[in-house]
Amino acid sequence: MLSSLGSGGGKTAKPSFVSYVTPEEIKSEKEPYKKENQPDLLPGEVVFCSACPVLKYSQDDMSQRGVFGTLLCTNFRVSFVSDEVQVEETCKLFKNKLYGENDIPLACVDNIYGGYEDKKKLITGGLLKNKYPSKIIVHCKDLRVFQFSLTYSKEEDAKKLCFTGVLDHNNVVMKTYLRSSSIDNNAVCFVEMQRKERTMLFDCLEDWTQDMKRTKGNCRLVTENSSFELSQKLPQFFIVPLNVTDEDLVKFQGNGLPMWCWSHHSGCALFKTASLPLMLTAVAHNHLYSVKTEDLSDTLPTIQDIQLSYNKFKQFFLIDNTTEFWMSDMKWFSSLENCGWLDMIRQCLLKAVEVVECLEKENTNVLIMEESGSDLCCVISSLVQLMLDPHYRTLLGFQSLVQKEWVAGGHAFLDRSNQLHLKEKVESQSPVFLLFLECVWQLHQQHGPAFQFSETYLTVLSDSVHVPVFATFLFNNDSHRANVLRAESPSSQRGPLNCPSVWDWSVQFDCRAQDLFTNPLYAQKTKQDRSQRKSHRPKHQRQLSLPSSAFKTPTKKGFFKDEADSLKKILGVKRISRWMLSPSSDFPPMSSIKEFYETWQAKPLDYHGMLLPCLDGPSIRVWMQRYLRWIHDVQILGGGPVAVLSKVSELLAEVQELRSELDRHARTVTSNHRGAIRTRAKTAPENLARSSVRLSSSFPFVTSRNWSFKPAIPTSMLQSLMMSEVAGDLASREDDGSEPETVV
């Protein structure tokens, strides 16, 4: 079972689900004697062990104060249940239904440290055998930090907790998601409900057809892999250049097949491929334009680089104590630079801009490739589409994009996140998807009004990767998903196992919380806009230049042998990276990109047109909401961007209310004035609890309970200045060279 998931879609595992109690049974079992010191368990969730009393240190300060309670470990999470009666927080608007603020889904656990007197050690099996720590520190993948003291609880319990629960959590996760996923059978009907306006999952033919139609692509939709006959690695459905033949499909089995991503209105398209570009010529022939190929591994970091860099980066935000935090504050900028994370973001964005330039300015097809074809290819292809196609900047569009490029595109989510904490998978672990979200966030903060979704949405999405119940993030590719789900579905009573999609946000948040996913700045395109643009846009070049039949002639069979290299020459295939790398070549590298950016920037900004990021040093920033939200000392009470955004939201709501009132008026003019009366009654009482000034910069993730507070006063600041060269003779000089004043 475990291996079936871990191995990325190998052989079908033996069904193991039957060996557990069914959710229904658990429910009936637990309900009668539901202990107080238990969290609300999900159906299928089982408590393995617990320790009590455990002291949870308060995060807010470094005093040794905290709350007593019970620490439990279930097959889904580590949970702390406070002994104190929880004051019902009315403003707890943004509550996750699956886990609370004191819960850590096991897959979200990043590292566990043992606190031995003054030392902090990463807990591994060996360490615990001798001595169990008096304190454990849990670092979470969503950057929360928990500190629990075990000194007050029974040694036995604590040991058990550490061994069976926390340490062996890898063993456990597995069982969890399969079960908890089954809870949501009824929630999943959202797909049916919103057939018209929905996230395209790209798990069926129609989605692909529709997307190709929408972009007016002219390629071949491959259905031959619907049961993975061609390859386990390929998605069920995909699109290739027109002249790829059946034989080619069989022959290449996914390696080197150019997979269509998106078509530009000029007719050229973006393709991605795994491994060597054996089918290069097919793309080239496809539209009679030249092809530029780009081996992403030439210029972009490897997945190991990404992992290493992120590991350094995240340490800046996993704060165990404030002293440490303020110490690190002094060298913040250089540490940030040294970890290289922002630079990786910049590199990805830059690469995407290069591709955009090829498509938009030169109207050439672009083929991006890398060994796997499903890591940086996904990052770059989705960024390119985000920059060029406003559709993907809507909420549903964005979700569809992730489905298309990442889920159907076969990004190995399971291996990359290593949710199972498997040792053998450590090397393949890498936050590639997060890197993509980071890039999106950069675009978002530079061009806010272009996006329908909010920053909060992106943050929540980045968290959801570590909640192991969503089919979206649990598998390595289509066939893996199909195999596991089929295997786990007990043929008997309950039908196929149904993991919810992460896009079914109601699994995690109620409607009101989901309102925070939309960006109040988003300006939807007006109809007028649309028609104007249409008339301006030049006709499809393809339509202008050639009748479509002209290039439908299939290429000769066996065309793609080993002649790829010589063909490259013949077809004038250029490599983007080559001219990016050598500044002395005919194509000035960076200056071309700069010029492209400057030309674009000189024009008035159209949020529904092409978007380019500014890549200058000061423009690439740290995603404050995601990384700083749990750190008490840097919360700006009553401030931060949310202060302004919530004002916009309030006004927006007001305007919408007025408009609907106007509409009602228009409707009821003829039929009495009843409508107006109804309006009164309908006016919603609650005000989103957003009254702007009371929010902190960590909204909505942390609600500030205490309005009165002590400001954070940085400690140990002088040292750095004194030690630096600044404090040379200048520092010791008098401000005004004043002569000593003598006092009589």
Binding site: D329, W332, F333, E337, N338, P449, D515, T518, P520, A523, Q524, Q601, D616, P618, V622, M624, Q635, I636, L637, G638, G639, P641, A643, V644, K647, V648, L651, L652, E654, V655, Q656, L658, E661, L662, V669, H673, R674, A676, I677, T679, A684, N687, L688, S692, V693, K710, A712, I713, P714, L721, V726, L730, A731, D735, D736, G737, S738, P740, E741, V744
Partner: protein, 607 residues
């Protein structure tokens, strides 16, 4: 976010073009399109071609002319035309580059260093000493003070609806704070600048101290700058007092009057221990003893605790900003932006100043009175007291309140603007120059960034203030102290910057402003939240997108307009509804539609 106001005042606000250049049509004569200020006169029109070596667009051929207020350049062939419009006050240094025999294209000309983070280079033809005239004129008019000429503020004939000199009336401001009261009195002992020539005439001091006491204390404080009240907390009566360092000297002198005086400040609201914030690093405070200064020792001031805030002196700040300029102009350092930024220490200094002010504000909120000083009490002290007051008192966060704050804590208390900026002075290497006020405005900007709804004014006001800090178009920032301003009749002979600002107040208003007077604002003084003020320091770079309005602001204004439109429509509808022909039920139709706040519902769909 805003461009250089280029000193064209209400008559000529440029909109929507690049920051360093505006695009204008060439319909008129070559230079006819610039509107001169009243009182502005053309000094020279250079009819020969001159080349502006634009660091972003390359060499641009064009014409230049100079008035007694500005240098104006317009390119001849670039389309759209590139113009430069630089108030002469901004110019810090003019140098000749190349000689008559220098080779290479455009190697002969002028190199102009500006105080606002840019340099300008012009190239001229080598024949016939073509640059001599222009250099001489520029040198003379950019540095009028060094040539015995008046600065432009004295030549300006501008008229405004409002007289900005009326913005700050010391008595009114004291009254607003609830002064005088039984613990604090107003004294006119300095009416003729006898007690202290760099202080204002009206001072607030402890009720129980006599004017004679004040004189005695002034002998023990550097330059006679005795502790006086800057601000009082309405509820807990804790006060911020400011002064200069005590003249302790090497021998560790004591002064009973000074000690007693500080104790009076403490007593006024029953504070157990008076906190003295010495803005300097302790090493510097100790070193100051050698020159007769020093700090309040424990034994002498037993009811006081002394805290050093570790803020460096004016020389360190000057070098820091210089380094910052090196990494942002003309091009933004690319490969190691963050570590370069860190090595300038500019933000680190900002952090120290802000966190010092937080400590002051926090003490006051806790009900404890504080005394703030540095060496002379006119640089770091002004930064700390005014920032703390900005945190504590919502009034100073309004458009007019902020003007009062600057007039009071900076201008009237003798921040040496003339020495720090060097208005009209050719000595560019003067060691008295330092961007202390720029740094303060940067701190304010950091606060507005962290609390985008708490300030009535917008970023544009801050940029405008900094532009006119240098421009010499207004009298506001001229001279070092009130006594000098009196002697030179600044108030009667020049126009105040606030005349300009308040005559078009709406363009300096922050639409998101939500008044909340009673709340104390504590910004977060962590490098995580401090940002480089790109839209000021890097505004000359065309790659930095300059938006007249931030997208958020724009969206908000659109929505406001839309709301008004809907409200109007609704009103009209109700009017027609209630016409006699309509139904008798009309009473129940939405009568309150005009108060839309009642209708706020939460957001369902993106709009």
């Amino acid at each position: 976010m805003y461009f250089l106001m280029d000193g064209c005042g209400p008559l000529n606000h440029r909109v929507g073009s690049g920051p360093w250049a505006s695009r204008e049509s060439l319909k008129m004569g070559p230079l006819a399109d610039v509107t001169l200020l009243p009182g502005e006169e053309r000094v020279i029109e250079h009819d020969k071609d001159i080349i502006y070596m634009c660091p972003f667009n390359g060499a641009l051929k064009g014409k230049v002319f100079i008035t007694n207020y500005r240098l104006y350049f317009k390119s001849a062939d670039a389309d759209p035309a590139v113009t430069l419009n630089v108030p002469l006050g901004v110019i810090g240094r003019v140098e000749k580059m190349g000689g008559a025999s220098s080779r290479g294209e455009n190697s002969y000309g002028l190199d102009i260093t500006c105080k606002d983070m840019r340099n300008l280079r012009f190239a001229l033809k080598q024949e016939g000493h073509s640059r001599r005239d222009i250099f001489d004129i520029l040198f003379r008019y950019a540095f009028p003070v060094s040539h015995g000429l008046p600065v432009f503020a004295y030549l300006s004939q501008e008229k405004y609806e409002e007289n900005g000199w009326n913005v700050f009336k010391p008595m009114e401001e004291f009254r607003r704070q609830g002064l005088p009261n039984e613990k604090w009195r107003i004294t006119f002992v300095n009416e003729t600048y006898e007690l202290c020539d760099t202080y204002p005439t009206i001072l607030a001091v402890p009720f129980r101290s006599s004017d004679e006491d004040l004189r005695k204390v002034s002998a023990f404080r550097s330059r006679g700058r005795i502790p006086v009240l800057s601000w009082i907390h309405r509820e807990n009566q804790a006060v911020i007092c400011r002064c200069s360092q005590p003249l302790v000297g090497m021998s560790g002198k004591r002064n009973k009057d000074d000690e007693r005086y500080l104790d009076l400040i403490r007593e006024a609201n029953g504070t157990a221990k008076l906190t003295i914030y010495d803005a300097r690093p302790s090493v510097n405070a100790v070193a100051n003893k050698a020159t007769g200064g020093g700090y309040e020792g424990d034994d002498a001031y037993q009811n006081a605790e002394l805290v050093f805030l570790d803020i460096h002196n004016i020389h360190v700040m000057r070098e820091s900003l210089k380094k910052l300029k090196d990494i942002v102009y003309p091009n933004v350092e690319e490969s190691h932006w963050l570590s370069s930024l860190e090595s300038t220490h500019w933000l680190e200094h900002i952090k120290l100043v802000i966190s010092g002010a937080i400590q002051v504000a926090d003490k006051i909120s806790g009900g404890n009175s504080v005394v703030v000083h540095c060496s002379d009490g006119w640089d770091r002290t002004a930064q700390l007291t005014s920032l703390a007051m900005l945190m504590l008192d919502g009034h100073y966060r309004t458009l007019r309140g902020f003007q009062v704050l600057l007039e009071k804590e900076w201008i009237s208390f003798g921040h040496k603007f003339a020495s720090r900026i060097g208005h009209g002075d050719k000595n560019h290497a003067d060691q008295d120059r330092s961007p202390i006020f720029v740094q303060f405005i940067d701190c304010v900007w950091q606060m507005t960034k962290q609390f985008p709804t708490a300030f009535e004014f917008n970023e544009r006001l801050l940029v405008t203030i900094l532009d006119h800090l240098f421009s010499c178009r207004f009298g506001t920032f001229l001279y070092n102290c009130e006594s000098a301003r009196d002697t030179n009749e600044v108030r009667s002979k020049t126009v105040s910057l606030w005349s300009l600002v308040n005559s078009e107040a709406s363009s300096y208003q922050n639409p998101f402003y939500t008044p909340e007077c009673s709340r104390v604002l504590y910004p977060v003084a962590s490098m995580r939240h401090l940002e480089l003020w790109v839209t000021y320091y890097i505004r000359w770079n065309p790659r930095i997108r300059q938006q007249q309005q931030s997208p958020v602001e724009q969206r908000y204004m659109e929505l406001l307009a839309l709301r008004d439109e809907y409200l109007k429509k609704l009103e009209e509808l109700q009017l027609t509804d209630s016409s006699p022909n309509s139904s008798h039920l009309s009473n129940s139709s939405t009568p309150n539609a005009a108060s839309p706040t009642q209708h706020i519902t939460h957001l369902h769909t993106p709009f």
